[in-house]
Symmetry: C2
Subunit: 458 residues, 2 copies
């Protein structure tokens, strides 16, 4: 007879039946509504019809909805079951390595076959497009996580997929490109000669490394020109953030399984969807007085939209094809330094995330590139999983919080989002370990210039 | 009130408490014992002491044990909980794509942070080494899966790790190397100038691509020379196969959850540990009359040890430093063609797997390289997961079996091992999609030469 050794629980997992039935829409619970997006010509609030050339109506209605619960279609839940509910880990080995009294939990989205949280919204977006007859999806990708997710979702639903990939990633990440191509997507380096936006940039800067803002312009442009092509965005918009709330909804149940309650909730934020996914369901509870957790969005020091940007109306893209949205921004013409967390290189922050920061429901902090990678290596050696460079920012802040807990001699429960693995980002770890990465100072002058060019609105 | 859409179950998962308490040792149930390993000098059966320079006694005793259940130490089970029990998927989307009446299940070992089944034995081996005072582990890696697993296990237990990586992989797979280095391992291309075995090969073939057989010689040589250094092997040996039986033990429970029973069990086999991991617990039931499943080991057409080799005594390595073992072999001097499933490029097959094939308990088949990759792409587009090139061999056979079921109009339950993901093998997919891969004919002449050089034993 074998006696069972008393084990510590590592994963708090839910069965397939606990995949949420509905996404959570915090708009229903906000103490003050968000500022509306404006038409860049008229400066009047835009309506659903203004967005119709780019998105299917199912998504547009979610974009403007104030319903608290938005039902997840059965087909989307069925696809979620390929990887959801995602695991919640207690980082016991990391806690021991840090010798901290803090409890550290992480919600791990890297189990998605695309390797990150991005697939949560990609399958939803492609589903609504398919339902309304869209044949082709155009999109952009920086780090490659979003492009991989859209390529995969299009393969699942049988739609064509066109990805504009930021030039520097296109060159640095051939494996990412190969993954998208394995799923049948067509991948083009951006800026490209295929669009007016791309050609304009190439004319001024023939060697442009590209940026997310430029790639967005290209993908939007080709969608606007063809009625069978729609555009898919991987972050920033309300409906994208909405789809990610499955992360936080599951985490709330899993933390109950663990019989623990987070004092601090941490997630990295580039466009804001990963942060919103974990945070919004908790912020809904906070608004209702059911949670006192500090909620922290972490951004790179090199691209500090939340901590150094202005909360004003700006364009979502460099080519100024999008509506004007009120958000924390560094200026839509600002091209962030070439940090290795490509998913965090965006000049703005989701209007919804900006709004909850402005309301004081959440706070923001920055992490330097070298600290992020050092944290990632420390995490990997304890927990095994090698995080994506973006996720390293959350890891660094979680470790810093656990160290503070030790210094103060106080227990504290930390929950963070490990939004993806770094399997396709190993060139960044190679560069880090070879001592080739650097920290970036706040790019003050460029940001001042970009902010000076902001449209005078609101 | 939201109504739940009737979902099909995709994953059949077990809680942490169902991680097996013991590994299953089929030696206890074999109708005929295996031929013993022989000392290459005396040609007499070797004893535990002969292996002591290379392995800790805890592993040596497992190597020769005939106990049916060997308890998994609590610390090893605790580490297993970082990723185990691994999921069992029903490949419903693939079934629909194939329009087959077959039920297809896969046991997915890619959830291990090392990305494959290899971590199951790596943590066990490093645990026993740590317990007996080993300071350094030396090993070899071909595809990189084994090296990654050992590097990770050494980081978990605080041991130094030295990996001899087959030259062609070292050059082709910088991400794999980076992963091992992120976990603190020292990685050297093999053949190297660090060992006599390596120098001998380099003298004869200065541009040698290396092979698993050569890299094993190098790793064994440095372990034999230093009392604080032990050697770890990722396949072939009984104790390695034993550790992998957690795969099959969990799968048996999970198939019960699914209320289904496999008619066909499929796994790829290079050294044999992945195959043994899934198959041995089922073969134990087959011996007792509790299962009638066909059990199929799949090998590459370019390195067909089971289907074209001889079942005779041979060396495990190219440098002839190991004992002689009775196995299916293509000859220890045979260097397999440079197929992209590096983990299947081994001249021999585990003695235990060879023995169950010889007893007629299992059968073997081959898959060509292009068919393997085509199957991998088809699988990925349906299921999302992009398989390791090795695992593609099992995918191809599972698909072929499902297609036969359709042609015969018969239901059939297929269970296969998806031993790892292909995230670190995307250069192979790039080459495949660019049309640069080829099939290999059975390398008849080279194998005849290598077999002619076999030692005359038994």
């Amino acid at each position: 007879m074998l006696i069972e050794f008393l084990m510590e629980t590592i994963q708090y997992n839910l069965p397939q039946s606990r995949i949420p039935l509905a996404w959570y829409n915090i708009a229903a619970d906000l103490p003050k509504p968000m500022a509306p997006p404006l038409h860049p010509g008229t400066l009047k609030p835009i309506g659903p019809d203004d967005l119709a050339p780019l998105f299917p109506m199912g998504l547009i209605m979610q974009e403007v909805s104030t319903e608290r619960e938005i039902e997840i279609p059965g087909e989307v839940r069925q696809l979620y079951a390929q990887w959801r509910p995602s695991p919640l880990f207690r980082a016991r080995r990391l806690e021991k390595a840090l010798d901290t009294p803090a409890h550290i939990y992480y919600k791990y989205e890297g189990v998605s076959p695309a390797g990150s949280h991005k697939l949560n919204t990609a399958v939803a977006q492609v589903y609504y497009n398919k339902k309304e007859g869209t044949k082709h999806i155009s999109t952009e990708t920086g780090a490659g996580q979003w492009g991989s997710a859209v390529a995969m979702a299009c393969a699942f639903f049988g739609l064509d997929c066109k990805v504009y990939m930021v030039r520097v990633s296109y060159d640095q990440k051939p494996y990412r490109r190969a993954l998208m191509e394995a799923f049948g997507a067509s991948v083009t380096a951006s800026p490209s000669n295929e669009t007016e936006s791309g050609r304009a940039i190439l004319k001024a800067h023939p060697d442009s490394n590209g940026s997310l803002g430029i790639a967005i312009s290209e993908a939007v442009e080709i969608a606007a020109m063809d009625p069978h092509t729609k555009y898919a965005l991987g972050s920033v918009l309300n409906h994208v953030l909405l789809h990610q709330t499955v992360i936080g909804l599951e985490a709330i149940e899993q933390m109950e399984l663990a019989d623990d309650d987070p004092d601090v909730i941490i997630a990295c934020a580039g466009g804001g969807s990963n942060f919103a996914g974990l945070a919004m369901p908790y912020l809904g509870r906070k608004i209702k007085g059911q949670s006192k957790a500090r909620v922290i969005a972490v951004e790179p020091a090199a691209c500090p939209s939340m901590t150094k940007g202005k909360f004003v109306y700006d364009f979502g893209d460099t080519g100024h094809l999008t509506p004007l949205v009120k958000m924390h921004t560094l200026g839509s013409t600002f091209v962030p330094p070439g940090i290795h967390a490509g998913g965090l290189r965006y000049h703005g922050m989701a209007p919804l995330v900006s709004h909850v920061l402005d309301l004081g429901l959440a706070e923001a902090t920055t992490v330097q590139q070298l600290d992020a990678f050092a944290a990632g290596i420390q995490f990997a050696r304890a927990e095994g999983i090698i995080p994506a460079p973006e996720a390293n920012h959350a890891v660094a802040e979680a470790i810093a919080e656990a160290v503070r807990a030790k210094e103060e001699g106080k227990q504290r429960t930390i929950l963070f989002s490990l939004s993806g693995h770094g399997h396709f980002d190993m060139q960044s770890y190679i560069a880090y370990q070879a001592g080739k990465l650097e920290n970036y100072e706040y790019p003050e002058e460029e940001i001042a210039m970009a902010l000076a060019g902001l449209p005078a609105v609101g």
